[in-house]
């Protein structure tokens, strides 16, 4: 945690498999929902959410660089960044 002098900024990264990439976990969830009687479910895609606490002054470009370098594998995943 930061002391009173520095503010923490939040960033949220959403990572999803790209369209066309098989999502077996999403499929398994869809099957399970169907088995429970939720007939309205046409499809399920499962992704992940990563929350970052950042120093004040960190930019969206910084978070994008983090996504490109580590957080997402852009061969199969797309990501979106939400600041604040």
């Amino acid at each position: 945690m930061k002391n009173n002098e520095g503010q923490i900024m939040k960033a949220t990264v959403h990572i999803m498999l790209k369209n066309g990439v098989l999502d077996p976990q999403g499929e398994a969830v869809r099957h399970a929902l169907g088995a429970l009687g939720f007939d309205s479910v046409q499809g399920v895609r499962q992704g992940k959410v990563i929350e970052l606490d950042l120093d004040e002054g960190a930019t969206e470009a910084d978070v994008t660089a983090m996504c490109e370098k580590l957080l997402a594998n852009t061969v199969i995943e797309s990501y979106s960044v939400e600041m604040g």
């Binding site: 990439v21 098989l22 077996p24 370098k69 580590l70 957080l71 594998n73 061969v75 199969i76």
Partner: protein
């Protein structure tokens, strides 16, 4: 042949890989992931199977960004050899040294069994001990071995004879039944099956021995 086997937290096939290299006549150095350089004179780097960093984030993603992996990349870019097995294959794709990615198995289950592998090419230091078309029995043990790459990449791998091994009975949904692929210069091999687990009569099969022997032969000549 001097082989370096990288050890990450969560590696569990590091010793098996070292034993297989040694049985083929190699001198082996074990290298910790926090080391920033490889020992002098290393001919081949072995990246073992296991669950490096608990498979957190994505299989191999954290390991691919560890200090030693920068040296492994430099070694490969200089024309050095590297063999990644199972988690090692996942790490090689995450570093970008091999194309594509390993997804969760299509059936969602962890699979541990011996499978038939077709040797697709004998044109590499790893596979020259086999004939193209040979079918060998090698164990697999993975949850994320479902090879994926876009159509263009798959076509390029096939067109350039860079698919080293394919499954005779696809267990995990891998595109084009791909079990192992070579880099463009054919010196980096990534494969999901474990040849080091079929390298001694005590393993119940010895079909993996030829890979290590061929490698030792090729690297002695080099």
């Amino acid at each position: 042949m001097h082989a370096a086997v990288i050890v990450f937290p969560g590696s569990n096939c590091d010793r098996d890989l070292a034993v297989a290299f040694e049985a083929a006549g190699a001198r082996v150095s074990m290298v910790w992931h926090k080391d920033s350089s490889l020992p002098q004179g290393v001919d081949i780097v072995g990246i073992p199977g296991g669950f490096s960093f608990g498979d957190y984030l994505r299989c191999g993603a954290i390991a691919a960004n560890s200090p030693i992996c920068r040296s492994v990349a430099t070694h490969a870019e200089r024309g050095g050899y590297a063999l990644g097995v199972c988690n090692g294959f996942q790490i090689l794709t995450e570093t970008g040294l091999l194309p594509g990615v390993l997804l969760r198995n299509a059936g969602l289950k962890y699979i541990c069994q011996t499978v038939g592998l077709k040797v697709e090419t004998s044109q590499s230091a790893y596979t020259e001990g086999y004939n193209a078309g040979d079918v060998i029995d090698i164990p697999i043990a993975h949850h994320d071995g479902n090879y994926f790459a876009d159509d263009e990449t798959i076509a390029r791998l096939q067109g350039d004879d860079r698919v080293a091994f394919s499954y005779t009975n696809n267990p995990n949904g891998a595109r084009a039944d791909i079990a192992g692929i070579l880099s463009e210069n054919r010196r980096v091999l990534g494969m999901m099956p474990h040849p080091e687990r079929a390298a001694d009569a005590g393993h119940g099969g010895t079909d993996g021995q030829a890979l290590f022997r061929a490698l030792a032969g090729a690297l002695v000549k080099a």
